[in-house]
């Protein structure tokens, strides 16, 4: 049975240090020992969060801004290290946290595809073979030799997305990327995710598009102030969340 889980999050706790005045020099460090005022506050972002996602499942994460959703994704994506607890992942994880990491306006679209592809984990040769199909998907075939600074933001997003989906991950972490681009691009990227789903990929995504999530997610996880407020059937959780949000707004 254990094999069917593709992500297991166990008792994950994460605390960030918030500096009142930034103390990152040796001088200030020494001064802070002499002056015993507390300059650092701890902000507990996630507390004892546990859940698991089965292989091929689509999990939606909802919650207010600042509730810890992105931090949770970053911990699953190994970018942050949890203070306590552990994350077990079965298979290759690709975070779609912010598309176009490492893009450089001074370089051509082609060069940027190569750089971004290599950052995502391809070898140079592998990504070069994919340039054509990336350009086609992003609808920028004619502009491969154009410098990226001359691209519109839509073209930029399409190019980044087209490159990122070339990675063939087992687990996708998606942070609100569906909300960039125009309607036709949104539809295209939406279809891409559905396609990933059909192929049995595990997808965890953060979004505020509740109605869309109700339709496509298998389960919803509601994070509030660093703890799991509710978890389970999409309709049930989303209704709870909506109700909670409306009563809070009234206060």
């Amino acid at each position: 049975m254990e094999d069917s889980n593709s992500v297991i999050v166990q008792n994950v706790t994460k605390t960030f240090r918030i500096y009142h005045e930034k103390r990152n020099s040796i001088y200030e460090y020494v001064a802070s020992i002499l002056d015993r005022q507390k300059a650092v506050d701890e902000l507990s972002v996630l507390r004892d969060v546990s859940f698991s996602v089965k292989k091929g499942e689509m999990l939606g994460i909802i919650g207010f801004n600042g509730s810890g959703k992105t931090t949770l994704l970053k911990i699953i994506g190994r970018i942050y290290h949890p203070d306590k607890g552990s994350v077990i992942t079965n298979g290759k994880v690709t975070p779609f946290l912010e598309l176009g990491t490492g893009f450089n306006g001074e370089l051509t679209a082609k060069d940027n595809i190569i750089i971004y592809g290599v950052i995502l984990g391809f070898t140079k040769k592998e990504i070069k073979e994919k340039i054509e199909s990336i350009a086609k998907f992003a609808e920028v075939e004619r502009f491969l030799d154009t410098k990226l600074k001359n691209f519109s933001s839509g073209m930029n997003a399409r190019l980044a997305f087209a490159t990122a989906i070339q990675v063939n991950p087992d687990i996708l972490l998606v942070d609100e990327v569906l909300s960039v681009g125009d309607i036709s691009f949104q539809e295209k990227s939406f279809n891409t995710f559905m396609d990933f789903k059909k192929r049995g990929k595990t997808i965890i995504f953060v979004s505020h598009a509740l109605d869309q999530m109700r339709d496509i997610c298998d389960k919803i996880l509601w994070v509030h102030d660093g703890i799991i407020k509710s978890y389970g059937n999409p309709s049930t959780v989303i209704d709870e969340y909506k109700q909670f949000a409306s009563t809070r707004d009234k206060l």
């Binding site: 942050y80 290290h81 975070p95 946290l97 990491t101 290599v118 391809f122």
Partner: protein, 259 residues
Amino acid sequence: MSDSLFREIWERRSLIMLFAFNDVKLRYRNSTLGFLWSFLEPLLMLTVLYLVFTNIIKSVVPNYPLYLLLSLIVWYMFQRATTMGQTSLLDRAGIIQKIYFRREVVVVSSCLTAFIMMGFEFGAFAIFVVAFKFVPPLTILLLPLLLIDLFIMSLGVSLFLSAMTVYFRDLKFIWQIILQALFFVSPIIYQLNMFPDKIRTLLQLNPLVSLLDITHGMALYNTLPTLKESMYLGISTCIVFIFGYVIFKLKSKNLIEEL
């Protein structure tokens, strides 16, 4: 554990090469002299030092211009690698906050940038060797071993500095001062045997000093280091590297959120 470290870094070799070569390009692109700059930088330094010190030291050190150039090439490698390595995590913050790969990758690539630049400078060295009609001894063939040692040593220092600098930003300035001091206590301008034995032994405790000393001997004077000297260099390099790596490991856990 360490097996997966090397595997994960090896799997990212494409990324390491990409970062390293892009940095080399960036360093030369903005100057009209471009690639030539890599030759000019050490040449200018060489000229200045040569003019200043020639009368004092020339008579004592055989092939003094070559001696000086070789010292400078090795020194520049160490200086650039540690300076770029020190800020590598901060410089690539935008990427490592978004995508996971071994953080060591960015430090390794910075050191590699310096290593590639050193390669160009050895081109200049070869030209000088020909111009001075100098016939290098056979022992020069062992030089690559020393350069690998130099790379590992620089990487160890860079790993330590890069992790610590995320927490203490002023280490950047402190390291520049330490580098200046290191320059003068290393046999770059002078030769070690100009000092009395006691001071010499003391200076030689610094692995960089013993590396420079052995390099000169092998590349210019047909002398191989004694077994004791080679062992000391090898072991001290390992210690520097392991120390740097352990500190990096300890500090790197929560490093991303401190960037």
